[in-house]
Each structure stands twice: as structure tokens, then as C-alpha cells.
């Protein structure tokens, strides 16, 4: 067991090191953006202050190292990244890192709920479709998946607000908890959960569509394999065969899919958090867009990339824990 744990840690470390060049590349692109974008931080600041005498600008540039040669700025930028210093948000007057970490929690909660929802719905509907293949539940589920693919998530969120908040009054339309209610303990958890239902469902919708189709296809493919006949010859019920033998194998591509789609989910959360006023990274991104806060946006992009890298490593670990055929080494 401890050997396994050791292998696991070694595997994660190795994958992290392998990801470093990618992160370096992303940082480089980030840096290029800062410098390619019209105007620099000094212009922004000066605009803010309303006074833009050349002396003031020069002083600002010197203070923030903007007068240094290109490569020096690049090295300084990289050095700062190593200590996770993503610069300063002049609009919010706070360090970017601090802003990001303050909003990371709600986004992680929203995303993990959405992914969990997508995977469980994917399994449920995908298995149902595969077991009723070419009959009406299968057609219905396939059509549903097609529509879910085509629906803009933010619009779906707005429509759900109209239905469930405005018309029916069942669910809160915005925020993460009831403002001023001051709930504690279980009541607070329940309150957050209630606020979570709509954004998580909507955010997970796109991934659900992917997972349903994937699970259906792999259930059908795996259902034809020899070990399923073995399971049948043992006297197991079709239900047990589907869930215990076939699904277990069909889940593997689903795990990979989470890794592939996590970037899309992060992008979706920018829109969803904006729609539902969810106090996370996405809404921060919206505010940053609104205020043209490029430093903050770039920090956000970098953090999102790190999240993608980490999720990918996690899905690889999960894959290896489920499938004994692929060693950790």
C-alpha cells in the first residue's frame, strides 16, 4: 500500500515537472500580450489619476520597471511568476494573486459540482440509452444531447432564472448565499446548496451531453466483449452486468473526457458566474473585462491554465487507479 502511495506521489511529481514547459510557454504568451496590447500600465494609471504630465508618466514607468529593456522586463516577469506574484491590479488596488485566491473557492465549488453532476447524469442517461438502444428513450436522450450541445450556456442560465426564480420562485437567482440571513452550520450549507443548483446544472450541461454520448457508445462497444458473455454465463442479471461489469470499463473514457473538457468548463464558468452573480473567478473576469484590467485578466488566464494542468494530472491519476493495466511508473 505504501509502495503504491509512493508510486502515486512520484507519478504526480513527474507529471508536474513535465507540465512546466507548458506553463512557461503560457507565461511567455501572457507576457507578450502585456507588451503587445496598446498602451501600458502607466497609461492606465495616468488615465486613472487624470493627470498625465510626461514627468509623471516617466516616474510611473520607472517605478514599475516599464522603462527597462524588453528582455529585462521578461526576466523580471518570470522571476515574479515563480513566487506566484502576478502583478498588481490597478483597478482593484490589490495584488492580482490576492484577488484570485479570494475568489478561487467558490469557482472550485461550482466547477466540481458541475463536473460531478455531468458525470453522474452522463452515466445514468448514457447507460439508459445504451440499454434501450434504438428505442424511444435512446432517441429522446440523443436528441436531448444534440440540443444541449447547441445551447449557449449563459442563455440557458437566463432562461432557467426566468422559469425557476421569476415564475415559480423555487430557486434563488443570484449569489452564493442569502444576503443578510447570517445562517450558520447546516443551514448555511443548505443555503449554499440551494444557490448552487442552477449554476452547477447549467455549467455541467455541455459536459453532460458529451458524457452521455461517450458512455452510450462505450457501453455498446464494451457490451460486445467476451468478459460480458462470461458474466452472463455466471447467471448475473442484465442490470448487474451493465452496472458492475460494463460500466466499470465504460467509465475510463469518461475520466479522460473530464480532463479534455475542463478548459471549456472554466470558460463556461466565466459566463455562468456572470449570469448568476456567483462570487468566483468568472465574475472577477467579467469585472476585469468591464474595467479593462489586463493585468488581472492575464493572471486569471495563468491561474486557469494551472487549473487545467492540475485537473489533467488528477484525471490521469484517477484513470490509473481505476485501470490496473496501466502502471503508475
Amino acid at each position: 500500500m505504501s509502495r503504491n502511495a509512493q508510486d502515486l506521489i512520484r507519478f504526480v511529481l513527474r507529471r508536474l515537472i513535465q507540465s512546466l514547459p507548458i506553463l512557461l510557454g503560457i507565461a511567455t504568451i501572457n507576457f507578450l500580450f502585456v507588451n503587445l496590447a496598446p498602451g501600458d500600465a502607466a497609461d492606465v494609471l495616468a488615465g486613472e489619476a487624470g493627470a498625465a504630465s510626461p514627468e509623471f508618466m516617466a516616474a510611473l514607468r520607472e517605478r514599475y520597471g516599464l522603462d527597462q529593456p524588453f528582455y529585462v522586463q521578461f526576466l523580471v516577469y518570470m522571476g515574479k511568476l515563480l513566487t506566484f506574484d502576478l502583478g498588481y491590479s490597478f483597478r482593484f488596488s490589490r495584488p492580482v494573486t490576492e484577488l484570485l485566491l479570494g475568489t478561487l473557492g467558490p469557482t472550485l465549488l461550482l466547477m466540481s459540482t458541475a463536473i460531478l453532476f455531468a458525470c453522474s447524469m452522463g452515466v445514468f442517461l448514457g447507460v439508459l440509452a445504451a440499454r434501450c438502444v434504438n428505442r424511444w428513450p435512446d432517441y429522446l436522450i440523443s436528441v436531448g444531447a444534440l440540443i444541449a450541445y447547441a445551447t449557449p450556456v449563459f442563455w440557458l442560465g437566463l432562461m432557467m432564472i426566468v422559469l425557476f426564480s421569476v415564475k415559480l420562485g423555487w430557486l434563488p437567482s443570484s449569489g452564493m448565499q442569502t444576503i443578510g440571513a447570517g445562517y450558520t452550520g447546516w443551514r448555511k450549507i443548505g443555503d449554499v446548496a440551494l444557490h448552487l443548483i442552477m449554476p452547477a446544472t447549467v455549467l455541467g450541461m455541455y459536459l453532460t451531453a458529451f458524457q452521455v454520448r461517450l458512455i452510450r457508445a462505450s457501453m455498446l462497444e464494451i457490451g460486445e466483449q467476451d468478459f460480458v458473455t462470461t458474466a452472463r454465463s455466471k447467471g448475473l442479471s442484465e442490470q448487474t452486468i451493465a452496472y458492475r461489469h460494463v460500466l466499470r470499463n465504460a467509465i475510463l473514457p469518461m475520466v479522460t473526457m473530464v480532463g479534455l473538457q475542463v478548459g471549456a468548463i472554466l470558460g463556461g464558468s466565466v459566463l455562468i458566474e456572470t449570469v448568476f452573480a456567483w462570487p468566483g473567478l468568472g465574475r472577477l473576469a467579467y469585472n476585469a473585462v468591464f474595467q479593462r484590467d489586463l493585468n488581472l485578466l492575464l493572471g486569471l488566464l495563468f491561474l486557469c491554465s494551472i487549473m487545467v494542468v492540475v485537473t489533467n494530472i488528477l484525471t490521469e491519476v484517477a484513470y490509473r487507479l481505476i485501470d490496473p493495466r496501466i502502471p503508475l511508473k
Binding site: Q225, D226, F227, T229, T230, A231, R232, S233, K234, G235, L236, S237, R244, H245, R248, N249, I322, D323, P324, R325
Partner: protein, 322 residues
Amino acid sequence: MTPVLSISGLRARLRGPDPSAFVIDGLSLQVNRGEVVALVGESGSGKTMTAYSVLRLLPPAIQLTEGEIRLGGQDVVAMETRRLRDVRGTLASIIFQEPMTSLNPLMTIERQIAEMLLTHGKATRQTAPERVIELLELVRMPDPQTRAKQYPHSLSGGLRQRAMIAMALACEPQILIADEPTTALDVTIQQQVMKLLLDLRDQLGMAILLITHDLGVVAEVADRVAVMYAGRIVEEGPVVELLEAPRHPYTAGLLACLPEGVGDTGRLIEIPGLPPKPGSIPEGCRFAPRCPSATELCTRVTPETRTEGVQAFACHHPRMPA
């Protein structure tokens, strides 16, 4: 005494537009208690489908249309699904040709064997692990304690087949159906597994229906042989008599291929031509187009099965008895 397995007039066909695409066409066969019966034939003769039909494991593309399959006196064909599930594994078990793909890759050997025991109430969650080890010892699995905790991919083909056998025998069935159980294995391992099956028959007293294309194996292990061609049994009899003096020209052709005649594909290279495909079965005797002693009669009239001495055969021009 009722036979353990009794098949009579069995017909199965490919689902589809052609109503005459029979893969099993009027097959009758009996296996008695403790007996090893070999069902022999080329690839495509329908022997594997016969094996699958006994437990109603036919793929969806193939449909049983007629006939009766009795396991311990109960008709499997008419049986409702629940009852059928009880029968699978307890009255009859099956092991397959490909040990590499017949086990679930994501479950330990122990779990897969224990699942058989638990499904049929032959053990509880507490007693199952111990019983699994006993079963692995029974099939002479080396180091059973370790192997039980491993996944199929860390076992060799021979060991996986042993695990399959342990699983198949877990509920002490009256008959074991072995569909080419050694074809995918190395030659030395083949003999070990065959010997194991025979020893287990002696020890446990179950019958074995052995599906094979290898007459060498048949000569060593079977009590009785049934030779299958194009969905039908063309000759049947005790192993010694049948191999020494085959009456049907097809059996004789099979024997002429020994010892090295059977290629990797299971096709018989000594007999010219190929067996007919379902749906394009010739009129009269199905073997006539490939038969050295066929006459005009053979292409017209299907030969009836007749019994002479201990052998039964379906041929207009049988070879001389010994």
C-alpha cells in the same frame, strides 16, 4: 438415468432477410453424467454456437428457432429469464477460447470467482475469500493467495484459463462446456490444462462437453465423439471405434489431416474446398461437393442418420466397418 444434457432437433439461424441461413440445423446430442463428449468440426461448422446455445448465450444476431435443450431434465429454451439465471453456473458452466479477454480486466481474480459464489448463494461475503482460495488450489493455481488479489493482466494465458475453470466449477455444475479451451494457449500449457480438466472430472464427477477442432486432443481425452459439419452431426460414436474406423468420409478426411493437418485457422487443408456458408447450403448431402465418394444420389437426397453397431452416421456411401 436422464442424461445431463440432451439436445434434440436444435435449429438456430442468423437473423436477417434470409430465412434459410441456419447455423445449427437439426442437431441432436446427448451427454451423460461424468462423460467427456467431444464436439468436433471445422471453423464455421456451428460447434461454438451449439455450445453457446446450451446456456442461451447466443449473440443477438443468432436466433434459436426450433428444438429442445434439456439440462438435468429442464428445458432451457422455454425457461424464463430468472430461472435461466439460476441454472447458469449451477447446472452448467462454460469456459471460452480466449482466456485473455474472457475475464473482466478491472476486477481481481478473487472478486470474479467470488461473484459466482455469491450470485448463487454458495458462499457469504465472509466465507467467499476462503472458498476462492480452495477453488484456486483445486485448479492447481500456483501461489493462490497472491494470484487471488491480482488482476487478469498480470496472469499468463494458462493461469487465466485456470482461473476461468475455477470460476466455472465454483458452484459444482453437472456439466462443463469447454469451447476450445486450449486453442489460444502454448502447446505445453495446452496439455496441462487438458489434464487438469480430466483430473477434475474424475475428482468432481461432472460431465464435459468439449468443443474442439483438434482430433489429437479428442483421442486423448474424450469418451465419445460427435463430428459436426455445416450445422449438423454427421457421425457419432465411442472415441476408439470412431477414430479407428470412421464410417463417414468427412471424419475420415479429418483423421487424414492428423497429425499436423489442422492449420492455425482451424481449416482442414487435406479436404479440398471450404464448408458451406449459412444460407448457401447445397441440396442433398452438405458434404457432397467436397466428398471423394459422392455420387449423383448425394447431390439430390439428404442422407438419414443410421446406426450400425456403436456408431451413428449420415451417409449414403459409408466406409467399410472395421
